[in-house]
């Protein structure tokens, strides 16, 4: 277990280093924050002066060296747009992002699990077809469309929920439903296909033959064995939901990391993008690690070894 963790941490460091280097290169090659900071009619003199102050007049390799030295000290620098510590700005928005991601994922699992089980055990029935159709809709509808439709129905027509914003649990419902729609569909389909594969297995027949009640056969013998790919998807979805909620956060004006990051990318706010990407990379790595740990718990054959 200890070796496993040490190895994972080593991997994490390499992954994060590569991600940050890639982000640094791509951002610096494709845009200039000075032009985004200054008014559109700024003169060359102003542009050059601000470039010098920000150290952006130096060769890319020198900037990269300084960047690495900063990161090594744990200093992500000051946001160019906000003039505040970049990591602090990301940290401020993490709770909102986490709340939305956890709620959406919880909602997705809570709906997808029973839906997938019912679809698999009632294969070929109307219920199954309905579940499959719902899943197809959830996976194929673009999130901006789902979000706007939910807002139109829930807020504008029925006038039940606030259109956007943050603060109360009412504000959470529409963005969480929107964000949950895709993983809900993905998980439901996975549960259904996983269950179908296992339902025909010999040990399931044995379980039935020895007279176990069907509920126990489904939930204990089938579901647990079908759970491995589901856990993988749920683990990966969490990272996606935390960092990938950009469209949802924009539509519902949710103060999360995704929205912060997208504006930072637009404005080439290098330190802010790097801090946000660092946090996202860490979340993904942590999600993967959790999945590995869950594997060992779910499947006794899996041993956590380096």
């Amino acid at each position: 277990m200890r070796d496993f963790l040490i190895q994972k941490l080593g991997h994490t460091a390499i992954v994060v280093f590569c991600v940050l280097t890639l982000v640094f290169v791509v951002l610096h090659m494709t845009g200039d924050p000075v032009m985004m900071l200054l008014p559109p009619n700024a003169s060359r003199e102003e542009i050059d002066a601000l470039s010098r102050t920000l150290g952006l007049d130096q060769p890319l390799i020198v900037q990269y060296g300084r960047f690495l030295a900063r990161i090594a000290r744990g200093d992500f620098g000051t946001s160019l747009q906000h003039q505040q510590p970049a990591m602090g700005l990301v940290a401020e928005r993490l709770p909102a992002s986490a709340l939305l991601a956890v709620t959406a994922l919880g909602l997705a699992v809570a709906v997808a699990l029973p839906l997938g089980i019912v679809a698999a055990t009632r294969r070929g029935t109307v219920l199954d077809r309905l579940a499959v159709a719902l899943a197809a809709l959830g996976q194929s509808a673009p999130i901006f469309w789902t979000g706007l439709m939910l807002m139109l129905v829930g807020s504008v027509i029925l006038q039940l929920l606030p259109t956007s914003g943050y603060g109360t649990w009412r504000h959470l419902i529409l963005p969480a439903l929107t964000l949950a729609s895709y993983p809900m569909a993905a998980i439901a389909r996975l549960v259904r296909s996983g269950m179908l594969e296992v339902l025909d297995a010999d040990y399931v027949r044995t379980a039935r033959a020895k007279g176990l009640p069907e509920r126990r056969v489904v939930l204990k013998h089938t579901l647990r064995n079908a759970a491995l790919p589901i856990v993988t998807v749920v683990g990966l979805q969490f990272g996606l939901l935390l960092g990938g909620a950009i469209v949802c956060e924009m539509i519902f004006s949710w103060p999360g990391v995704g929205r912060l990051m997208i504006f930072a990318i637009y404005n080439r706010d290098f330190p802010l993008v790097e801090a946000a990407v660092f946090v996202m990379a860490m979340v993904f790595v942590a999600g993967n690690m959790l999945v590995d740990l869950c594997y060992a718990w779910l499947d006794p054959r899996v041993k956590l070894r380096a």
């Binding site: 200054l38 006038q159 004006s253 103060p255």
Partner: protein, 509 residues
């Protein structure tokens, strides 16, 4: 396990049912204003975008401001009067008895402190607006002289735009610039209360404001990036004023019954900058042909629902120097073809038409429409879509090929700002058109106007320059746009040509 699952599902259903209660109207008398983006700072020297400026204009006062009935005309604010004492010196008499929100007095020292900050290069974003200033001299506690390097006819106007907000020297020395940027102190009608990033900025009325206590006690600024969500927030009563309504949403607001749109012409002119350094676009006749080939009226009607007027030069009718005699190029495809033939391009020319996608309103659609119209006269237009930062980089390097969509504006409502700051020496697009290079008649005119204090003479120069600009067509002139805001019917609010939301002038019916 199944029971637990059923319980979870039931719980969810109950939770959904529980929310099936109507949401009440906006709480109390708080005024909620929804803009398209959150502010990035409250330090008025560190941002120039309108959603930031709207906060600055309410938390701070400047020496002077624009007359809401006639934007471009100056009104006193913290300065009660001003005069030019010699060609290089402007003297301001300051309002007495004004205090910052922390109790610190506003006086000539505060003006000097602010000017010293403004003229420091490379540490903030508004230096360019004040680069003509050499220094500020305190004459007495309520008189200050601002000295320029060369005569500057628009010096006073500079203090009405961004960066002109007066800063509290003692407070900033006590805290630091970073703290000041999130906990600001000004002399304005509203005091800063809190800023929850990406969620809200709360202001409350300054009870000791020199013009009297503002009528609305608390104001909440909310960032709602999505256009539809902003309209929905307005019609549901979650916001009382929203900015940046797109023309397609106007009818939805009008039909809701609760709300109206407020719109007015701004000083933003939408044009395609032309890189006329080489190739066919270096030929004046080709550039004129482009101007004849585009049906501006149709574009305004179809893409902008009539919320714009066509222009004949890049100077909007709000700015000093506007020449009403210059009319827009008429839509005349036959003339465009003839001009291309005269220029030696009877077989047509290849031209890049570049814009962002969402940087300017309907920009991609505009490029598509323009490209189609150009194709009708034999210009083979190739559309390019740029990401914001990429676009800026191209501009900076002066390497944009062909046509690039832009919407220049002058914060001083003056031809110098909308034209010469961009095209003059050191301007960002100085290279794009050889007709404004040093030694050309156009260059001489614009440089002379820049230092001419006699406004009659200056106006005459600008009228002539605008004619040259129109005839030489270094831009594809399109239109001067309107801004559209949405407001609840219970709110007394008028959109201003300078796009500012001045809370002091807003009341409940």
């Amino acid at each position: 396990m199944p029971r637990r699952l059923i319980a979870i599902s039931l719980g969810l259903c109950l939770a959904l049912l529980a929310v099936a209660l109507p949401v009440g109207p906006a709480a109390g008398q708080d005024l909620v204003i929804a803009q398209g983006a959150d502010i990035t700072t409250l330090d008025p020297t560190q941002a120039t975008q309108i959603h930031n400026l709207n906060l600055f204009y309410n938390v701070y006062d400047a020496l002077v401001t624009w007359d809401p009935k006639d934007i471009g005309k100056l009104m006193p604010e913290l300065a009660v009067s001003w005069k030019s004492v010699d060609p290089l010196t402007w003297q301001f008499k300051l309002r007495q008895g004004v205090k910052f929100h922390n109790g610190e007095p506003f006086n000539a020292d505060a003006v000097k402190f602010t000017v010293d900050r403004l003229i420091t290069k490379g540490v903030h974003q508004v230096y360019g607006g004040f680069s003509t200033i050499e220094r500020a001299d305190v004459v007495d506690a309520h008189t200050v002289n601002i000295v320029t390097g060369k005569p500057d006819p628009i010096l006073v106007k500079r203090f009405a735009g961004y960066g002109g907000q007066m800063l509290p020297p003692q407070y900033i020395k006590q805290v630091d610039w970073k703290t000041f940027a999130i906990k600001p102190v000004g002399t304005g009608p509203y005091k800063f209360v809190e800023w929850v990033k990406d969620d809200r900025v709360v202001l409350e009325a300054n009870p000791t404001y020199w013009r009297g206590v503002p009528k609305i006690k608390r104001v909440i600024w909310k960032p709602i990036p999505d256009n539809f969500a902003r309209v929905a927030a307005l019609t549901r009563g979650e916001a009382q004023i929203i900015t940046k309504v797109i023309p397609d949403h106007v009818s939805q607001i009008q039909q809701a019954g609760c709300c109206r749109v407020e719109h007015t012409l701004t000083n933003l002119v939408t044009v395609y900058l032309i890189n006329a350094q080489k190739g066919p676009l270096a030929n004046t006749k080709v550039r004129q042909a482009l101007n004849y080939a585009v049906d501006k009226d149709k574009i305004i009607k179809e893409l902008y629902k009539g919320y714009a007027i066509p222009i004949g030069s890049g100077i909007p009718n709000t700015d000093f120097g506007y020449n009403p005699k210059i009319k827009p190029y008429p839509y005349d495809p036959a003339k465009a073809k003839a001009l291309l033939t005269e220029a030696g391009f009877a077989n047509g020319v290849d031209v890049d038409v570049q814009s962002g996608n969402g940087i300017h309103l309907n920009d991609r659609q505009l490029s598509e429409a323009v490209a189609l119209m150009l194709q009708d006269v034999g210009v083979r237009a190739k559309i390019g879509v740029l990401e914001p930062s990429q676009r800026s980089q191209l501009l900076r390097a002066n390497t944009f090929p062909g046509l690039l969509l832009a919407d220049p504006a002058s914060t001083t409502y003056d031809t110098d700002g909308v034209l010469w700051r961009l095209r003059g020496p050191g301007g960002i697009i100085h290279q794009a058109w050889p007709g404004n290079y040093e030694g050309t008649p156009f260059y001489k005119m614009m440089e002379e106007a820049r230092v001419t204090l006699d406004s009659g003479k200056r106006l005459k120069i600008y009228h002539e320059a605008a004619q040259v600009w129109h005839d030489e067509a270094p831009e594809l002139f399109l239109f001067q746009g309107e801004m559209i805001d949405g407001a609840r019917n219970e709110i007394v609010y008028k959109a201003r040509g300078d796009q500012r939301i001045i809370l002091y002038d807003i009341t409940y019916r």
